[in-house]
């Protein structure tokens, strides 16, 4: 089961390790701030699928699902609970 705190930590770690910034706010918009580019967005989505065993389906293909640490974690938790149910 992917619980919210755990997921957030893993996502935050992945982003921090990849883009090497010191203090990333969980709600900081990664795209608006220019912190990440389109290449990294694909890496993040691929990571989320592999790490948490969720699939980004046709209806999930929206940047809002991955725009911040919080948004990405919430997406994972939503998809995971959907699968359990």
């Amino acid at each position: 089961m992917n619980d919210s705190k755990n997921v957030k930590d893993i996502v935050r770690n992945f982003i921090n390790n990849s883009i090497n910034i010191d203090a990333l706010g969980d709600d900081e918009d990664l795209f608006e701030t220019g912190l990440i580019n389109s290449l990294f967005a694909v890496q993040l989505m691929t990571f989320v699928e592999r790490k948490f065993g969720v699939e980004i389906g046709g209806d999930d293909l929206h940047i809002d699902n991955f725009k911040s640490v919080s948004a990405t974690a919430a997406f994972v938790v939503r998809k995971s609970s959907g699968q359990v149910a």
Binding site: N37, S38, L39, A41, V42, M45, I56, L61
Partner: protein, 283 residues
Amino acid sequence: MNFKTVGVVGVGNIGSGVLASLVLHGIRAVAVDVSEKSLETARAGILQTVRLAPVLRKDAPKLTRNEVLERIAFTTRLEEVSTCEFIIENVTEDWAVKKPIYERLDRIASAGVCFGANTSCISITRIGSATSRPDKVIGIHFMNPVHMMPTVEVIRGQHTSAETLATLNRLLAQLKKEAIVVNDLPGFVSNRISHLFMNEAAFVFQDGLATAAQIDAIFKKCFGHKMGPLETADLIGLDTVVSSLDVLYDSFKDSKFRCCPLLRKMVEAGHCGRKSGRGFHVY
């Protein structure tokens, strides 16, 4: 008249990107490479790129796996590009590899078909000389990731005709891309300059002046570049960067293009950048 089928020869990093871009714009493709393994890697990469494209571009169509695979014929037989209306070549940056491919393509493709050379540094005039149709050979330097980058560097070789440029512009219009057309000398504008940046950044790293992250951060945070030189080198592939530097060095015989020894050592160690999971950064 719109292009319906384009041949893509060489399906590494950039070739796969070209294929994804073609498919996203409704153009069929014949994808050629030397091994089934390369084709399989490309197939997986293209499916992932196309599937996630709508997140990054609102205008990208949502295509199913089958729709993507139906639009691309993967093959190890170069002859299968014979029915294509335009051919884009993206093979290894090595004249000994490229030359025989162009000689074969010249025999395989119909007389009116143009060849787009997606080369990093090799002169388009030189490539044209390997064919009987130098007027129909033109350089197309796609940028990575191909489906996201709106602009390409287009290179007019010594004999490239105005008709060929017009033909390429039609294809680029279908791909919703704009061309910046330049003249031909090895490395053109982009790589002749960018490889000096990347090579010198590798020397700076080798000399222990700064970490890779710091070097990239100076370009991003001080110069406002979207990416630093070392992460750009990792993205291109350090093997390709070394090959391009070697072409520039051989072409100009100018020591400013000498390849940083550390770059060559990293390639020999298999640390070729993003595609191999490790280069100046770890992926």
